[in-house]
């Protein structure tokens, strides 16, 4: 599995380490990132569960007894996801990142998966270059958005509003989101706790829905659809209802596609951009993902 290294590195399945150990190495690899996104063990465990990270097929790079890097593989039907890739700063530029990537792609192939997905933070040139070299190609740009609870209260748009319980919300989400960014695929919602939704019908007949996860301090994981009408008007309406209902909750949204027609409503509602990612694929999505 190992190509040539400048340092003596072995790739070990991540399942041989505790979540605490994986959290430690992950945080060490991100310590100098512009957007470090550190985690504690609780958050990493949730991440592993919600995003179907397969620790048997994820890898840790070891030099002797020292952990030097980590890369995780999410596995769902017909597709794999490269995530949490990082190398500790003192070991970079020695081929460890490329070895971890090559190792993960090999793991995916062993699972008979020919379609791999990832996101890379925009302007992370070394990582982006590596992914291009390994055969990934760009799909589009993704936004990470925030909305502060400090903003003034919102008046809800006049509408017939129906709250959706978890099972109703997940029925609307459906199971056909396999070509969406991994974090926003159906499984990510099905695996998450505290999922519910809103179905709105406006006076002019426009209608649409929003499904979301409500955590202790934050609203997150939005999936939405305008069934009839203008997407911006519809999105403004469902966001106004949501933020009226939860005025003290922060909102964090990951991987909203930059060409999403609902996007102007988010900015009107006070959302700000945290950073951008580039979505990349390797291989072709299986027909089973595209056709459903």
């Amino acid at each position: 599995m190992n190509p040539t290294f400048a340092v003596d590195i072995k790739l070990i399945p991540a399942s041989q380490f505790t979540v605490d150990e994986l959290t430690g190495i992950y945080n060490q690899t991100r310590v100098d990132y512009m957007v470090p996104m550190p985690m504690n063990a609780t958050r990493l465990a949730e991440y592993i569960s919600v995003y179907n990270v397969d620790l048997e097929h994820s890898l840790v790079a070891m030099q002797g007894d020292d952990m030097r890097g980590v890369a995780m593989l999410g596995v769902r039907e017909g597709r794999a996801w490269i995530t949490r890739l990082g190398v500790i700063p003192t070991t970079r530029r020695t081929g460890v990142g490329e070895a971890l990537m090559a190792g993960l792609l090999e793991q995916a192939e062993q699972l008979n998966i020919q379609f791999d997905m990832l996101e890379v933070i925009k302007n992370n040139t070394p990582a982006h270059t590596l992914f291009l070299k390994l055969g990934f190609y760009e799909i589009g740009e993704l936004l990470v958005l925030r909305r502060s609870p400090v903003l003034p209260p919102i008046d809800p748009t006049v509408a017939d509003a129906q709250r959706l319980e978890r099972h109703e919300a997940l029925t609307l989400v459906g199971r056909d989101r396999g070509a969406q960014p991994w974090t926003n695929q159906s499984e990510s919602l099905f695996n998450a706790q505290e999922v519910s939704g809103l179905y709105l019908t406006l006076g002019d007949g426009s209608r649409g829905w929003l499904v979301y996860q409500r955590q202790k301090f934050t609203l997150t994981r939005f999936i939405y659809k305008t069934e009839v009408g203008d997407p911006v008007k519809m999105a403004y309406a469902f966001l106004s209802h949501l933020h009226h209902q939860y005025p003290r909750l922060d909102t964090q949204l990951e991987n909203i596609q930059i060409n999403d027609p609902h996007l102007p409503a988010f900015y009107q509602m006070g959302y700000v951009e945290s950073f951008r990612r580039i979505e990349m694929w390797r291989g072709t999505p299986p027909q089973s993902l595209l056709a459903r």
Binding site: N27, V31, M34, V35, R146, S148, V150, L151, F217, V272
Partner: protein, 121 residues
């Protein structure tokens, strides 16, 4: 003696800030995650909170919300301590009710101290 609380998960950064500020006569306290940070703020009642935006349990923006909801802390200057680009840092500062931001990494110690001193109430 003015009291500074730093909420920051990277130990090396916290140690550097501690050395800089204690050498200049500030009383210093450090918390390495969000929940400990809020607890420390309530116990320590600092004159300034320096808050990293990327923390392992909850991020800095969420902590800012907690601090704004605490009557005893509402008037304490809250400064984002971040490596984010200037424009993003400014957006977050304005949106989340921070009093300002100081960029990481610290490249000029005197400038850093001057910035901290300017925010202390």
């Amino acid at each position: 003696m003015k009291k500074i609380l730093l909420i920051e998960d990277v130990a090396d950064t916290a140690e550097l800030v501690q050395r800089i500020l204690t050498a200049r006569g500030f009383e210093f306290m450090h918390a390495s995650d969000a929940e400990t940070g809020l607890q420390s703020a309530l116990e320590f009642m600092p004159d300034l909170i320096l808050l990293d935006l990327g923390l392992p349990d909850y991020d800095g923006q969420t902590v800012a919300g907690w601090i704004h909801n605490e009557n005893d802390l509402r008037s304490t200057p809250l400064i984002a301590f971040t490596a984010w680009p200037e424009e993003t840092a400014r957006d977050m500062v304005n949106s989340y009710g921070f009093n300002g931001y100081i960029s990481k990494p610290i490249v000029n110690v005197n400038e850093f101290v001057k910035q901290v001193a300017s925010f202390v109430k």
